[in-house]
Amino acid sequence: MKSLLDQEFSDSNIVITKTEDLLNWARLSSVWQLGFGLACCAIEMMATSASHYDFDRFGVIPRATPRQADAIIISGTVTLKMATRIKRLYEQMPDPKYIISMGSCSNSGGPYWEHGYHVLKGIDRVIPVDVYVPGCPPRPEALLEGLLKLQEKIRNESLVKKTA
C-alpha cells in the first residue's frame, strides 16, 4: 500500500483520506523510541541512530523518558535484574506502545540460553514483542528492516479492531 503522501490527489490543497489511515500514518512516521540500551546490540542501535544510517529519517528519535516514548528497542542481554526494570519502564509508557526485540539475547537468551543463570531467555516472557530482529548483533540494516516491519504493522492497524 502506498503511504499517504504518495497517493495522488487532484486538488492541490485537499487530501482526502480515512481517519484510520491518517492516524496510522502519523503514528508510524514518528515512532519515538525510549533512549535505552543494554549490551553490544546497543552499540549497533546507536550506529543506526547516527548520521550514516540515520534513524531520524524514519521519525525515530530517542526520548529520555518512557512517558514520551512510543517504542522501546530491547537491545541486548536482558538479565533477570534488568527484566524487572524493563517491565516497569514498559508499564510507564503510554498506549499505543510497541516493542522491538533486537538480537539473539533478547529474542531467546542467545549464547546464554543454557548456562546463563542470570539471563532471561527471551524478553517476550515479560512483555509482548511486536518485531523480532535476529542477529548477534544485528547490523544496522537489519534493525532498519525491523523498524520498517513495525511501520507496516502500524499502517494496518484498525480503530475498531485491537491489533497490538
Binding site: 533477570l80 531467546s108 537468551g109 543454557e114 543463570y117 532471561l120 531467555k121
Partner: protein, 175 residues
C-alpha cells in the same frame, strides 16, 4: 625487586604462625596464608620498605570442589566439606615485583578477613566473591551482592554444586 621465594622468607620470618607455605606451581609460586590474618600480612606487604605492594591487581574467589561429592537422583551434584579459596594478585608499581597469595577457608562457613582497609579497590572485588561464592569478608564496610539481584535467595551461582531455580519473581529462568 625481590623474587617470590625471597618475599616468602621475609613473610615467614615476620608471621611464622600465619604464613604457611609456598606452593611451587608451574605458572607461578603461590604463598598460602591464614584467612584470619590476611589483613595483617597485607598491611605488612604494603608498608614495608623493600616490599611496597601498592597495588592489588585482582582478588578472585575459587571453588576448590575438593569436598565429598554426592550425586542426587536427578543427576545434580552436592559437595559437602572441602574449601573455598581467595587469590590475591599483588604488584608493586614502585619496585616492579609481583606476588600471589592464597587463603583457603572451610566451605560450610567461609570467612576471610577483608583487605578493603589495605587496598580500597578490594571493596567491589570482595563483594563479587561474596556474590558468586558466598565467601564472607569480615569487617567489610558494605558486604552486599554486587551483580545478582539483592533479593536473590537461590545461593551462589559460581559454586560447583549450584542449582538454578525455576523462577525468579514469576519469570521462568530455564530455557
Amino acid at each position: 625487586m625481590k623474587t617470590r621465594e625471597e618475599i616468602f622468607n621475609v613473610l615467614k620470618q615476620e608471621f611464622p604462625e600465619d604464613v604457611f607455605e609456598i606452593l611451587n606451581q608451574p605458572m607461578e609460586p603461590i604463598i598460602m596464608v591464614d584467612p584470619k590474618a590476611i589483613h595483617k600480612v597485607s598491611f605488612y606487604l604494603r608498608d614495608t620498605e623493600g616490599l611496597k605492594f601498592d597495588s592489588l591487581m585482582v582478588l578472585s574467589g575459587v571453588d576448590d570442589a575438593n569436598g565429598e561429592k554426592t550425586t542426587d537422583a536427578d543427576g545434580s551434584q552436592t559437595i559437602n566439606g572441602g574449601t573455598l579459596s581467595v587469590y590475591y594478585h599483588l604488584e608493586s608499581l614502585e619496585l616492579g615485583h609481583k606476588v600471589t597469595l592464597k587463603v583457603s577457608t572451610p566451605r560450610d562457613n567461609p570467612e576471610v578477613e577483608s583487605v578493603e582497609s589495605v587496598w580500597r579497590c578490594a571493596d567491589w572485588h570482595e563483594r563479587e566473591a561474596y556474590d558468586m561464592f558466598g565467601i564472607k569478608f569480615l569487617h567489610h564496610p558494605d558486604l552486599r551482592r554486587i551483580l545478582m539481584p539483592y533479593d536473590w535467595d537461590a545461593g551462589y551461582p559460581l559454586r560447583k554444586d549450584y542449582k538454578n531455580p525455576e523462577f525468579y519473581q514469576g519469570m521462568k529462568i530455564p530455557y
